[in-house]
């Protein structure tokens, strides 16, 4: 206990603390001291030369600033951590140590964090640092011991150093409402710990970078190896460009690669695009150039040359020329004896096509001979295709599969790539942006695997920085919203919140009745946008049941118009076109072959309403295919890509049991009375499998419209007609008895309200057209249509029936 008390108490007078303070004081004077040294020496020598003994004193005095400069450079600038001592002043970052008073309070620590690199790193990357902590920290120096104790505990679990990041984590852990605070910043304790490791990695990288030799292996390293003028022209020695990767990811795969390379022959690095095959070759090249005991001696200083396919194809001209050139390059590599040839995207050399050429007959004997070390990176699908066509080729290669990275490794890759992207784009990324890029790219970035998926999205997010060039999680959300239209962030905009809260009334401006259906759909959307829904399913999946013309499709359209940005954001599939098992292929076809397939449309427009009309007509294989969509919100297309439906509202409509609904209504039941029983009957009828029906969030029965609702439908149709006539500056109105007549003649129990639109449009528009022709243009006029007017047109029942039937 006594020892614990000691280590967490800050000793202001410890030797290390004093050195740190000296370093801080001297820091701004170093250049001046160097200049003084030089001037004293020059003047001193000059005076001695002109026979003045004072010069000796000046030369002697020059030693004083010179020694101080040496002391600063080699000790005071980075006062090393004392590993043997576990006290806080032995482990604390020197920059911080120099800033603390004899009895620092938590608030003072927070203020010091605002002045040191590590503190600023957290401030910018995580949005949490001294400026926030000083607001929530106490000024009581007695509270400091617990922070230091926690910091030492954290440091023990890492590399022993109490860096500013470690202090920040320790201070955050002392905040009473830390979960709320971290939640607000979209962070967890684990994220902060990752941040500490990230900062330590960068610090170590900077510290060790300068001590590496410029020419590993020496000046004569390559003199015994071959002259490679053509390889230098058509390839790149990738060890020279280096890699940003820290070499902690996929170490097993890398060592497997090293061991296979040592055995000789050709290695196929197979994996999806973006998975990091090329990066792995770069890591190998770097590893061979700075060899460790893990690298076999026969591979030391072997150089990996990556061939530039486009340059080779451009230079070769004719086909024979290409083969001669590639043959020459391989011969050069073989003669050189220290070259590993890398064919990046090697499929380009085994297939005919644009920018590709089939050199199988040339390369096969070389690969089979196994005398030259070759690495080929290949897309897995293309590898399988080549394997099927020329089994001998792939059989002669050692295959190493490169798997996509998980979240932890992806974040490391992103951290490693950030300096490059930030330098190119002149922005700074927050850690939250990296996490968001991982999360969202999984769902919305197709055709590449992790970590390429996340890097792609991060590059896009750099286009939408916030104030000060800071790329945050919101920037990533914006990038997705701009490219796919999906609203990924929780609803925060006031207009959107208003829309969500008033969704029912907005939908009812376009459609009449069916309150329950409107309500369940609205609730699903509100759940989704407030972030309380299951993120691994579609926003909502609904089965609308009911007879024709009761508003099932209209509700889907209204939803698309009101919330999904327009009626165009509806993906509509008539399931009566999917009546055989072969039609499954059309459902999941590749967008390049069939842009109207369900997967292709959702890939292009992931934020939309998916309307599966007349579901009961689809083949059972089609319904089985849709099971995963309803369950997990994903569907795999023919290329085995996961297409996300997690931002869609899936609405299936069916007329199944429509007669039964009519029957219930005619027997005087209300919808609430028979809905449950009807659904049970539907399950028992085996029109749909129960497991299929169970996948829907809700099954909503649409009842036929009542007379008062039909009158409102007439009003909506008339509003549409008036909208069309607005350009003529004419308004029409229909009297109440006229509307009732339209309902009476236009309503058909079998077709619902569907004939009504035709009836109203045909009669009213015909009458207006006749009037316009008779009286000429009448801008500003309001035409009132009465029952009598309508009876003149619809007088004969047969005529009305003909119009209703569309004849």
């Amino acid at each position: 206990m006594g020892t614990d008390m000691d280590v967490k108490l800050f000793n202001y007078h410890s030797r290390r603390a004093q050195l740190a303070r000296f370093g801080r004081i001297l820091s701004p004077w170093i250049f001046g001291l160097e200049l003084t040294t030089a001037l004293l020496l020059v003047f001193g020598i000059f005076l001695v030369v002109v026979q003045m003994p004072l010069g000796w004193a000046l030369i002697g005095l020059a030693a004083v600033p010179a020694m101080i400069v040496q002391w600063y450079k080699y000790e005071l600038r980075e006062v090393p951590v004392d590993d043997k001592n576990r006290s806080i002043d032995a482990r604390l970052d020197a920059e911080m140590l120099a800033l603390l008073s004899p009895q620092p309070s938590p608030k003072e620590i927070a203020l010091a964090l605002m002045k040191v690199n590590g503190g600023l790193f957290f401030e910018v990357r995580f949005g949490i640092g001294g400026s926030f902590l000083k607001e929530v920290s106490s000024e009581n120096s007695d509270d400091t011991a617990s922070i230091f104790e926690e910091a030492l505990k954290i440091a023990d679990s890492l590399d022993g150093k109490v860096s500013p990041g470690v202090l920040i984590v320790a201070m955050v852990r002392q905040v009473p409402m830390r979960e709320t605070l971290l939640g607000h910043l979209q962070l967890s304790d684990e994220d902060l710990m990752r941040g500490v490791k990230w900062y330590h990695y960068i610090s170590n990288l900077i510290a060790t970078k300068s001590s590496k030799p410029k020419q590993p292996g020496g000046i004569g390293r390559d003199w015994s190896f071959g002259w490679i003028p053509n390889l230098s022209r058509f390839g790149v020695n990738i060890a020279q460009s280096g890699t940003m990767a820290r070499g902690e990811i996929r170490t097993d795969t890398l060592m497997q690669l090293v061991s296979n390379i040592e055995a000789g022959g050709t290695i196929a690095l197979v994996g999806r695009d973006g998975v990091g095959k090329t990066e792995l070759v770069y890591e190998l090249a770097e590893k061979l150039m700075s060899p460790s005991a893990a690298v076999p001696k026969s591979l030391w200083y072997q150089q990996v040359f990556m061939l530039d396919a486009s340059r080779i194809l451009a230079a070769a001209g004719q086909r024979g020329g290409l083969e001669a050139l590639v043959s020459n390059l391989l011969g050069e590599a073989f003669a050189a004896k220290n070259i590993i040839v890398c064919f990046d995207n090697a499929e380009l050399f085994f297939e005919e096509g644009v920018g590709a050429v089939d050199l199988t007959s040339l390369l096969l004997p070389v690969i089979e001979a196994r005398r030259l070390r070759i690495i080929m990176t290949m897309d897995e699908q293309r590898f399988l295709r080549i394997s099927k066509r020329t089994p001998a080729l792939t059989g002669a290669m050692a295959r190493i599969v490169v798997q996509p990275t998980d979240e932890s490794d992806t974040l490391k890759v992103l951290e490693d790539h950030l300096p490059m992207i930030e330098h190119r784009r002149k922005v700074t990324f927050m850690y939250q942006a990296l996490k968001e890029a991982y999360r969202l790219s999984q769902r919305y970035v197709y055709d590449v695997a992790m970590p390429g998926q996340a890097i792609t999205l991060l590059e896009q997010a750099a286009e939408y920085p916030e104030e000060g060039g800071l790329v945050s999680a919101r920037s990533v959300n914006t990038a997705i919203e701009k490219t796919t239209g999906v609203k990924t962030a929780n609803a925060s905009d006031k207009d959107e919140r208003e829309t969500l809260l008033n969704l029912e009334s907005l939908i009812h401006k376009r459609m009449i009745g069916q309150e329950r259906a409107v309500s369940v759909v609205s609730n699903a959307l509100r759940r989704a946008r407030s972030g309380v829904r299951n993120q691994n399913r579609p926003v909502g999946t609904f089965l609308f049941l009911g007879p024709t013309g009761v508003g099932k499709t209209e509700l889907a359209k209204s939803l698309a118009a009101v919330y999904f940005g327009g009626e165009n954001n509806i993906i509509r599939l008539d399931m009566n076109e999917f009546v055989s098992s072969d039609d499954v292929a059309r459902l999941i076809a590749d967008g390049a072959d069939d842009p109207s397939s369900l997967t292709a449309q959702v890939m292009k427009q992931p934020f939309s309403v998916v309307l599966l009309d007349e579901l009961e007509k689809a083949h059972s294989s089609v319904l089985t295919t849709l099971l995963q969509l309803l369950d997990e919100g994903i569907l795999r297309d023919v290329r085995n890509r996961e297409v996300s439906f997690r931002d869609t509202v899936v609405i299936a409509t069916s007329n199944a049991g429509a007669d039964r609904i009519q029957e219930y209504i005619q027997r005087g039941y209300s919808l609430q009375q028979f809905e449950e029983q009807f659904v049970n009957e539907l399950i028992s009828s085996h029109i749909f499998h129960p497991e299929f029906l169970n996948r829907f969030d809700e099954m909503v029965v649409f009842a036929p419209l009542q007379k008062n609702e039909l009158l409102q439908v007439v009003d909506l149709i008339l509003a549409d007609v008036n909208k069309n006539l607005a350009s003529q500056k004419i308004t029409i109105s229909v009297t109440q008895d006229g509307k009732e007549l339209l309902v009476e003649r236009g309503y058909d129990p079998r077709l619902g309200a569907r004939p009504m639109r035709r009836m109203v449009q045909r009669t009213v528009e015909n009458m207006v057209a006749t009037l316009l022709l008779e009286r000429g243009s009448m801008p500003g006029a309001t035409i009132e249509i009465t029952k009598e007017h309508l009876e003149e047109v619809l007088g004969k029942k047969q005529q009305a029936d003909d119009i209703a039937a569309g004849l």
Binding site: Q18, F22, P53, A57, P213, W223, S224, G226, G331
Partner: protein, 128 residues
């Protein structure tokens, strides 16, 4: 404290650190010239210049390949020999320089005192 700290570092950790830096610089120079490797490959063909020449088995082409090899080896030996020579000179010069630095390190704190003694003596070198 400042002066004590400076002097104790100078003759303690500073001195050890200086040795480490000297050793590191030496290691870099030795690696750069890689004398051992140059010696072990002294008579290897230079950049495999002869390696691309194919032979059809005739006496003429065999002879040409042999002469190519020979020339390549002679060039290699020549280049390596002079590199080794140059490397050795550089290493010796560096050794002298580092020795001077290491010795001077010990006497540097005494330089102000020595300077004032010289001032008191009043001796200056005469050039004429």
């Amino acid at each position: 404290m400042f002066l004590v700290g400076l002097i104790s570092w100078w003759y303690g950790r500073g001195w050890v650190g200086q040795w480490r830096r000297v050793a590191h610089r030496f290691a870099l120079t030795l690696e750069f010239f890689s004398v051992g490797q140059l010696l072990s490959t002294l008579f290897s063909p230079f950049r495999q210049i002869s390696a691309n020449g194919g032979s059809d088995g005739s006496i003429g082409s065999e002879l040409r390949a042999f002469i190519d090899q020979l020339i390549s080896r002679i060039i290699g030996a020549f280049v390596r020999f002079f590199t080794i020579l140059f490397g050795i000179v550089v290493i010796i010069l560096q050794a002298v320089y580092e020795t001077v630095i290491m010795v001077a390190w010990w006497f540097l704190p005494l330089l102000p005192v020595a300077g004032f003694i010289m001032l008191a003596i009043g001796w200056v070198p005469t050039w004429m």
